[in-house]
């Protein structure tokens, strides 16, 4: 049932990338448990604005869990403690009156700080840019039904394709590795017949780019899988590894 609670926020505030940041404490009063976490921050921001202070900067857009724009570490957990949930879909009913909530931004060298809870995730675009596509120009495609794809394969590809690029996998990984993100795209395209011709070069190129961007190395800690709001499986990482072995060691292409 709906009720109203009071919580205390300890929020990471940092004016910019080269300025020292620190925690600030704010009360969030009279918060309806039906509110989403971001709506709760909206309320705090309204108050901060009226008090003549600068509101907390945080990324958000669709607020329905699909754009991947929002995200923060809530009490040590990416997107909060609920499984398979983005921060915008986390509701205040999961908190109790009197709770103290610590809010931190994603932390990784590859995700430089912008402001407060906002970080720069353009490294993900760089990884896709390195080969996360099928090279097909508009106009030349054969009929959509010309290549049948087994339903199970299509479903597996869809499981991987569900990635929203929020960065929680990197934020959750003790090594700040982007393997889950990278493997999700490599997996999706390697599973589908349309993606096979480029599978070899794609795996190598994307992994190389990922390393170049200073992401850490995967050590199979499985935290990414546990925190992914779309519950993308690390079986995709294993598939990436297989693709990589094929590409790097046994490929006929130089």
């Amino acid at each position: 049932m709906t009720k109203n609670i009071n919580v205390t926020l300890k929020v990471w505030r940092q004016k910019g990338p080269h300025v020292k940041g620190g925690f600030e404490t704010y009360p969030a009063t009279d918060i309806s448990t039906d509110m989403s976490f971001l709506e709760m921050i909206d309320c705090v921001n309204e108050q901060l604005t009226l008090d003549g202070k600068e509101p907390i900067a945080f990324d958000h857009d669709c607020r329905e869990g699909i754009c991947g724009m929002c995200g923060a570490v809530i009490n040590g957990r990416c997107h909060g403690q609920e499984k398979g949930t983005t921060l915008c879909q986390l509701h205040m009913r999961h908190f109790s009156n009197g709770d103290t909530i610590v809010i931190e931004p994603w932390r990784a060298t590859a995700f430089p700080m912008v402001k407060d809870l906002v970080v720069d995730r353009s490294a993900f675009d760089q990884i896709i840019l390195a080969g996360g596509y099928i090279s097909v120009n508009t106009g030349g495609a054969p009929d959509a039904n010309s290549i049948p794809i087994a339903q199970e394969i299509a479903e597996l590809a869809m499981d991987a394709a569900a990635c929203i690029g929020c960065g929680a996998c990197v934020a959750a990984c003790p090594n700040a590795s982007a393997m889950l993100f990278t493997s999700a795209k490599i997996s999706q395209l390697a599973l589908l017949p349309q993606g096979k011709p480029e599978a070899t070069s794609r795996a190598l190129a994307m992994v190389n780019k990922m390393d170049e961007l200073c992401f850490g190395n995967c050590s199979n800690e499985r935290e990414c899988e546990a925190e992914c709001p779309k519950e993308i499986s690390i079986s995709n990482i294993a598939r990436l590894n297989r693709e990589f072995v094929k590409a790097g060691l046994v490929s006929v292409v130089k």
Binding site: I66, T85, D125, V136, G139, A144, N145, A154, Q194
Partner: protein, 637 residues
């Protein structure tokens, strides 16, 4: 000014072919000499930038999010239509065309809609080739479902995430062009103005949302793919950053705004929970394929749904529209839900909700089948409401979702401002007064992949443009204007937050210019909007500086534009003395409370021309000519 839609002559089915042949081509070697600016990276913008890059043009692509992959097209759930007729159930290009024209209540252009239906098939081919994991049958062929009032199964889908998959497909093509050096990406940039030189759109001025710097970018043509303005209602299913600003700037620089009053209220959204709600969440309308909509027969019946016996339930859609039942078009479903709630039959804490019940479907098909079809939607619903739709019926209520109105464009998708092209939801052209489900994705991609690559070439090779640089006085002037406006916003220093004012604006529009409208209310709304606008410029508070990442400032700029635009929306609604599609004027309804069109006097596109900030805009009319369909009263009985 005469509005020339440039629709090619000849039989409907041959127009597009003929037009493509007649359009001048740009020599492949010359394409690299042309710069094109594309604003927006959604289905229309992303696909346009990618396709133009593939052709060899040099493209600059802008978006307000941190990555092009986040445009709000990503949130579309249900699917994308195409006239493939894979199901052998009687579909054809002509039927898709007819359904779309009829669904739009005969307020769209025949030629545009026919072209849309024609290219729909190529979209599916291209998307499959891009690696989009559409749903498939066991045999490995593509699956289809019937969707949003269509009587054939022509909707392709990828679970409840079709928009996401299509957008990521366009995004991957876009990234490929970025890697090839054909497209330069400019994320976290907000367009503040269009630069017009010699009557031609030649560039834009943007604010770098991270550094606050105002930047100038010149080009040979500008393509706006900046989405719709449903956020004018404050609460809508649109993303928080969706706004009208880019379109409104273009309008002020000479592009006509067409049919702003055509807004779509989607029937299946999660009801509002309280005053601090920031946005509404859509539940895909595919749910209506299996869910049954009902309310208690007795007004004020507060019993929990499972205690209301079958005989005391009112399945009002099935009753009223026996042949379409729960699958009537969105506008019809929404209005009926509102009517039931207005009679006091609404359910839930607020009384502004109706049930969408899956009990019968679960009984018929088993929980497993329903879970496979709608599992992720049910999960999402439970996450938001903490109620389990497998056991308790869902509660839904209409919410502002999409806008059919937008900048006026001709058959080439060019606005009344030379060199300014407008695509996707940002233009007005294909959906008339109401959009059918699974048509928005189709339109965005059709415009971007298959229309603009041809028509922009015709413009570039058919016009002469002087060489310019961003030192041109027109750029300096645009920067001056943008900077001044920013400073003005930051110096108001009042007592009301921008969100609070936006919320009030939303209330005004929802109340007086929402699902049903009347002349008196519209006049009242116009006055209220003007007063609120005055209050905004005197009493709003915008903290922070213009020189860094300042989300309050971003919002303030958008709301300032909404406050001006809302008046235009209301004026347009007032001028259209008929009911059609999403525009329902209470004075014009049949005895059965259905929308009553006035084809004699209002079979036209209303295009508004900006005449200055202190003068009323001028209304121009583009008559709609129907040669291939007969205008009928939409009936879903």
């Amino acid at each position: 000014m005469h509005l020339d839609s440039k629709i090619p002559s000849g039989p409907l089915a041959e127009k597009w072919d003929k037009h493509r042949f007649e359009l001048k081509l740009v020599n492949p070697a010359n394409k690299r000499k042309f710069n094109i600016i594309v604003v927006g990276t959604g289905l229309a913008g992303g696909s346009a930038a990618a396709s133009l890059g593939e052709l060899g043009y040099y493209v600059k692509n802008f978006c307000i999010q941190d990555s092009p992959r986040r445009a709000h097209s990503i949130a579309a759930q249900g699917g994308i239509n195409a006239a493939k007729n894979y199901q052998n159930d009687g579909d054809s290009i002509r039927r898709l065309f007819y359904d779309t024209i009829k669904g739009g209540d005969f307020r769209s252009r025949e030629a545009n809609v026919y072209r849309l239906a024609q290219v729909s098939n190529h979209i599916i081919d291209h998307c499959v080739a891009q690696g989009i994991p559409f749903a498939r049958e066991y045999g490995g062929l593509l699956a289809n479902r019937s969707f949003g009032g269509a009587q054939v199964s022509r909707t392709f889908y990828a679970r409840g995430q079709t928009g996401q998959q299509l957008l990521l497909g366009a995004y991957s093509s876009l990234m490929r062009q970025v890697a090839a050096g054909q497209v330069s990406m400019f994320p976290r940039r907000e367009m503040l103005d269009i630069v017009v030189i010699n009557g031609q759109a030649r560039g834009i001025v943007v604010r770098n949302l991270v550094t606050g710097e105002i930047e100038s970018h010149g080009a040979d043509a500008v393509v706006l793919c900046t989405g719709g303005y449903a956020n004018v209602f404050y609460l809508s299913t649109n993303a928080m950053a969706s706004n009208v600003s880019a379109n409104f700037r273009a309008y002020k620089k000479g592009a006509f705004f067409a049919n702003p009053c055509y807004t779509q209220i989607h029937p299946t959204c999660i009801p509002v929970h309280g005053t601090s709600q920031s946005k509404l969440t859509l539940m895909s309308e595919s749910l209506r394929n299996d869910g049954r909509v009902w309310v208690p027969k007795t007004p004020g019946d507060k019993r929990p749904p499972n205690q209301i016996p079958e005989s005391e339930r009112d399945y009002y859609l099935e009753e009223k529209y026996p042949s379409f039942g729960n699958l009537v078009p969105r506008d019809v479903a929404s209005r009926n839900a509102k009517a039931q709630c207005d009679m006091g039959k609404g359910v839930g804490e607020t009384g502004f909700a109706v049930y969408l019940d899956f009990a019968d479907a679960i009984k018929r098909d088993g929980k497993e089948v329903i879970e496979q079809k709608y599992g992720n939607l049910f999960q999402m619903y439970e996450k938001i409401t903490a109620s389990n739709p497998y056991e308790t019926p869902m509660m839904i209520y209409p919410a502002s979702h999409y806008v059919m109105g937008g900048l006026w464009v001709d058959y080439n998708l060019m606005s009344t401002l030379d060199g300014l092209f407008v695509m996707g939801e940002a233009n007005f052209s294909d959906h008339g007064a109401n959009r059918l489900g699974a048509s928005a994705l189709m339109q965005g991609l059709a415009d971007g992949y298959f229309v603009i690559p041809y028509t922009i070439g015709g413009y570039l090779s058919g016009t002469s443009r002087p060489e310019i640089t961003t030192d041109h006085p027109a750029f300096t002037e645009a920067i001056r204007y943008a900077t001044e406006r920013t400073q003005k916003l930051l110096s108001i220093n009042g007592k009301r937050t921008v969100d609070d004012i936006h919320r009030e604006l939303g209330h005004i529009l929802w109340e007086y210019c929402g699902m049903s409208r009347n002349d008196e209310g519209l006049l009242k709304a116009r006055t209220m909007i003007r007063e609120l606008r005055e209050e905004f410029w005197e009493n709003a508070v915008v903290p922070g500086s213009s020189q860094d990442f300042n989300q309050s400032l971003e919002r303030a700029g958008r709301v300032a534009d909404f406050l001006e635009f809302a008046e235009l929306l209301v004026m347009d609604a007032f001028e259209r003395k008929e009911s059609c599609g999403g525009h329902f004027n209470e004075a014009y309804q049949t005895e059965e409370q259905e929308a009553m069109r006035d084809d004699e006097n209002f079979c036209h596109v209303a295009a508004w021309e900006h005449k200055g900030d202190d003068t009323d805009p001028e209304l121009h009319k583009e008559p709609l000519v129907f040669e291939n369909v007969e205008l009928t009263q939409r009936s879903y009985k």
